[in-house]
């Protein structure tokens, strides 16, 4: 069973936001951004822009009829700058013109006067100055302070991980239409239709019922369109609301890269203690999260960093503290893994540091400390149906860990200018929104009188195959062909108050609601069949569109049954509500049961470094992954492969660079590189672990969106291993991404010193 959408994708028939046929009278919007990262907005002169050809309006904060505020968790983010600017690229004004070219041309005619204020780009500097988005949080179990004395070995250090640009190939955008009711209807490229609706309603001073948001599909999201699709939706809506004309706003690539936030860079301090047997006794970690200029989702991202601070390991004494630091960069936001990868990178660094110092392979320490059934996480949830050791041991035997290791050593002994490196990366990732109330959704299922079925849920299709999975759940539950089923657009008027498609939980939540609705409809139809055809309800079922009574075909089938039910006035529509059971979490003590379940897996990574040039290849990524009972292996494998390669990108070539003025240097696809086909691992094996799945997973098929990203972390440590095979003496910092530059400089640490004078005596070249 294939993903449904690709049939249309390959023919170019799938409609994305920019493909929607343009309505007559449409105005095109372009955003005027702050040219400075921090300052007081003294004046804004757009008179010349207003006089430019085709320009209809220029809107500023003063034009907002409702509340100029789109902050989701903290109300700290104006839609259009008012009084202050806090980051370069912050929207200041909106130009509306008859053509896109005219709107962009007019941007150049706007002038702004800003009194500059000091710019902070470093989270530690922000923390030192008390610039925090929210108060710091600490997750604590045991007593790490007291435990140090009992440790045989203690190591400490610093680990840094960089940002990551989402680089969905479809840029952000929205297309808004005024309605006859005085509200706005819009098509938005968002993972969170309800968020766009809610904030737009606030901005326009309307009830949420006056704002309709419709989403067909996204050309990629990865978290970048969870919260950050909102400004563009709200701006387009503001334009449509004020001008009473359709307004289309699509960011070009460089504007998208400049104006939107990315994965949070982290700088972290760690301290780890072991007993004589290399069991982890205590772990203390302090995370400095670079949140950017506004909260966005940073507090929630920070929280998940704390949840995943110990990755797949059991640590009895943990003190993990996180600071969400306000800097003058675009607000950083959700990105696949949502803070989890940043947390895991630090404990993996801590283990690597210990292993390097002790001269033992890191994988020996890792294996000894894996979670076991019943082990407590720092937040007091117990690992239940834990497959950490199973995943590790399966990967080790399936892919021959010992053999790979021996091969690597052999290779390194016989090659001078090429070195191989190896690392193991276990993962453990919690499934659910950690904000418990968000774990709810609804499905609206219509059976039409001809037997075809339309399903609406809160799920947004962005390539993860959720629509296909929902259709499969419905087909299975109703006992009919998937070809009868259509998954409708995601629309706030059909399914309201939804959570964004995020947290890997979309298929679970919306699938469960769909399953409930379809089960109710099935029961209703069978009750009808019982009466209509005088059948015994017990043993009555629909299978392959046949109605079976105790296994014997009845004198009706799906189409006839539906038709007869309609004429007997049986309700053929069902609206089901699903809320994940048993979730609770007390954020005041940071304890509870926040996750429906955890996903486990282990990846082996082998790399080769060209020690002459500092370049490298990922030779193999071999994964044993806990899918539970996958009911769509093509989709699930695709999520693993895609997620892992995205993680490799984060750890290798993807380098988000800002200068001290808060200006994005990696501002286009030519200066920010994501993996291409040659950068993908030569070998990428995915082994489906034999696990029972979890009852809270849809049809026992576990959530698969985010966990694989963290397999990519192994690439960093494998590269480090290879560098150390060439240059064992380098004091290598823990700093990701491991770009070819960092590799080469690590391979030849003496060069910079010998060359320093030469570089610095050169005249500046302007």
């Amino acid at each position: 069973m294939n993903h449904l959408d690709p049939q249309r994708h390959v023919r170019g028939e799938s409609q994305y936001l920019d493909d929607v046929p343009v309505q007559q009278g449409t105005l095109y919007a372009a955003v005027f951004e702050s040219p400075l990262a921090h300052g007081v907005l003294k004046s804004l002169d757009f008179s010349a822009a207003l006089a430019a050809p085709g320009v209809a309006r220029v809107l500023t904060a003063a034009d907002i009829p409702g509340i100029n505020q789109i902050g989701g968790i903290v109300a700290d983010e104006p839609l259009l700058a008012d009084g202050h600017v806090h980051f370069r690229g912050q929207p200041v004004a909106l130009v509306l013109a008859r053509t896109e070219a005219q709107a962009h041309a007019a941007l150049k005619l706007i002038t702004v006067e800003i009194d500059p204020l000091p710019i902070i780009t470093d989270p530690r500097v922000a923390a030192a100055q008390g610039e925090l988005i929210v108060p710091p949080r600490t997750f604590k179990i045991g007593d790490s302070e007291a435990a140090w004395a009992a440790c045989a070995q203690v190591f400490e250090g610093v680990a840094e991980s960089g940002g990551q640009e989402h680089l969905y190939i479809e840029t952000q955008g929205a297309y808004a239409f005024p309605t006859e009711m005085g509200g706005v209807r819009m098509i938005s490229s968002t993972q969170g239709p309800t968020a766009v609706q809610r904030h737009t309603a606030h901005v326009l001073g309307l009830g949420m019922h006056q704002v309709e948001v419709d989403v067909t599909r996204l050309g990629g999201g990865f978290g970048g369109k969870e919260d950050q699709a909102t400004p563009w939706g709200a701006l387009a809506a503001l334009g449509a609301f004020i001008t009473k004309k359709p307004v289309k706003l699509v960011l070009d690539r460089m504007a998208d890269m400049r104006m939107t936030g990315k994965r949070h860079p982290y700088s972290s301090d760690f301290r780890i203690g072991f007993d004589a047997d290399l069991k982890i006794v205590a772990y203390e970690v302090t995370f400095f999260q670079n949140a950017g200029a506004a909260a966005d989702l940073s507090p929630a991202v920070m929280e998940r960093t704390l949840f995943h601070a110990t990755n797949a390991y059991f640590v009895p004494n943990v003190t993990a503290t996180a600071f969400s630091c306000r800097t003058n960069l675009p607000p950083n936001t959700a990105f696949r893994g949502f803070g989890g990868p940043q947390g895991m990178f630090v404990i993996e660094s801590a283990i690597a540091k210990a292993a390097e110092a002790l001269g033992v392979p890191a994988y020996e320490i890792q294996r000894k400390n894996l979670l076991r059934e019943g082990d407590l996480f720092s937040y007091r949830q117990a690992a239940d149906m834990c497959h950490a050791e199973q995943a590790w041991d399966t990967a080790a035997s399936e892919f021959d860990l010992a053999g790979i290791r021996a091969e690597v050593e052999q290779f390194n002994q016989t090659n001078k200018l090429k070195k191989k490196g190896f690392a193991v990366m276990p993962i453990c990732f919690g499934i659910s929104f950690t904000k418990t109330p968000m774990n709810q959704t609804r499905a609206l299922v219509h059976i039409y009188s001809d037997g075809s079925v339309g399903i609406s849920t809160g799920a947004v299709e962005m390539g993860q195959g959720v629509n296909t999975k929902i259709a499969q759940v419905a087909a299975r539950t109703l006992g009919i062909s998937i070809n009868r089923i259509k998954i409708e657009t995601t629309n706030t008027t059909r399914v309201a108050n939804t959570s964004p498609s995020a947290a890997s939980a979309t298929a679970d939540l919306n699938g469960k609601a769909t399953e409930m609705a379809c089960a109710a409809l099935r029961e209703r139809l069978l009750r009808h069949a019982e009466v209509e055809y005088t059948l015994n309800y017990e043993g009555l079922e629909i299978r392959d569109e046949e109605v079976l009574a105790a296994g014997v075909p009845a004198e009706t089938n799906w189409e006839k049954l539906v038709s007869s039910a309609f004429w007997k006035r049986v309700a053929l529509t069902e609206n089901a509500h699903y809320a994940t059971p048993d979730l609770h979490f007390d954020a005041t003590v940071n304890q509870g049961h926040p996750f429906a379940y955890h996903v486990y897996g282990t990846a082996l990574t082998t790399v080769t470094v060209d020690c002459l040039r500092g370049t490298y290849t990922v030779d193999a990524l071999q994964i044993a992954h806990d899918f539970g009972q996958s009911f769509n292996e093509v989709i699930d494998r695709g999520q693993i492969e895609g997620g892992a390669v995205q993680g490799i990108g984060w750890m290798t070539m993807e380098e988000v660079a800002y200068n001290d003025e808060g200006r994005l240097l990696s501002n286009s696809l030519n200066s920010y590189k994501i993996p291409d086909i040659y950068a993908a691992p030569k070998v990428l094996d995915v082994h489906f672990l034999d696990t029972p799945g979890h009852p809270k997973a849809i049809l026992r098929s576990k959530a698969v969106g985010e966990p694989p990203l963290m397999y990519g972390i192994g690439t960093y440590f494998a590269l480090r291993d290879a560098v150390r095979a060439f240059q064992g003496h380098t004091a290598l910092p823990f700093s990701a991404p491991m770009t070819p530059e960092k590799v080469l400089v690590s391979l030849y640490p003496a060069f910079a010193d010998s060359n320093l004078s030469l570089t610095h005596t050169l005249p500046a070249q302007i």
Binding site: I169, G220, V645
Partner: protein, 507 residues
Amino acid sequence: MIEFYLNDQPIRTSEAPASTLLDFVRYHEQLKGTKIGCREGDCGACTVLVGELNADGQTVNYQSMTSCLTPLGNAHGKHIVTVEGINAAGNQLTPVQKAIVDEGGSQCGFCTVGFVMSLTGHSLSTQPATEKSTIAAIDGNICRCTGYKSLERAAAKLTAELEQRPAEKALAWLSEKQFVPGYFAEIPAKLAQLRLGGSREAARTADAAKAASHVSTSPNGHAQSQNDHDHQDGSKPFTHAILGGGTDLLVQRLEELREQPGVRLVFDQPGRRGIRQATTGRVVLGAATTASQLLESELMRGLLPNLPQYLKLVSSTPIRNMGTVAGNFINGSPIGDLTIMFLALGAFVTLQDGNGQTRELALPDLYLGYKKLAKAADEQVIEISFPAPLAGDFFHFEKVSKRTHLDIASVNSAAWLRVKNDVIQAAAISAGGVGPVPLYLARTSEFLIGRELTAETVSAANAVMQAEISPISDVRGTADYKRLLLRQLLWAHFLQFAPELAVDELT
């Protein structure tokens, strides 16, 4: 008037020749299958096929190009194919489309059409399909969802199918197998017809074109950079631009170019293509020679056997199909890959001014400063030439970038050496990314001459070289890194030539 075929439809348009083919197909013709990802040729979401009638007048050569960087004027006389032009009736999938669907090679779908078009172009190629060549066909297509493995599986499936493709009457076979619709068979005749009409029009407009003043080409960047594509705004306006493949100017200056009436397109100018060896022994390239044509040239491959591996490091298939050698020179990027190669080959450019006067200039002498050229405003490159390397000469090109393929170099370098009895008789070393212009390292090259081929010579040459370069820190690396990297690349040249050289001093 620009005339061409778009899928099965004839097009006559007076839209600006320097506007993009992408905007034309999406917003003028409302063919929305072609997507916009980056508008700088770096993602491949907008890939289309550009078919050009072969000299035989019977067949069409199809190449993939990114429509975001294709000047609409370059479509003139050609067959432009978008996904709508290959879709079969009745929702049937072509073998390319089916392979991608079956292998799960499409997730969000936004990049997918680009892959479909690149692979369809590969199917139409006259070269045999191999595992490598099929992957190479999609080297300009970026996908953020799949991690590419499913696309590799689809490519493998396709390669197997294409093994059955006959060498003769391939189009008929492709049509029968539904790779392309039946109307493709009629395209050669239609393009031939266009060509006839076109030559009449050309005669009419030739005089007008002559009268137009052809001024400069290279935008003058105002900020120093040693890497290309800085997207600078606000530098001097330029009039009457000359467009080659468009792969640089359409990134940097699209808005201005679109507004300009007098843009000259040299891509299809008669007499500007072709690679030949002159009687003098020199190799002569027409200025509109593309990187792909370099690659296809038996002459070039004979002289530089490793050229395919070097060119694989230069941009991507669709960009190589468009980007011209002269365009790379004139763009003046300090990091231009082809420029660096030709500097070490001892290339000259022939410039022609508005009155038809020509002069020859050694390539190093073309560069006065960052994006400043020793070229009068009305001069245009018409030819490039270099002395053919002798048998036994050594030539090598090295490039390191953040991503190995489809990326701009942090540092690149080329070396040409003539060695007799372990003594270097002649040398030419070039390096990019380590100064304001693409550098011919005259002092380093000079230093090498007469010296023995030893590790000490390389080390000493490095010392000379380090004093000859002036890298700055930017998004592609710190100055220190670039210095170290160039040292390594110098070693890489010599190790390639003489693998026995000791490398202990490297550590």
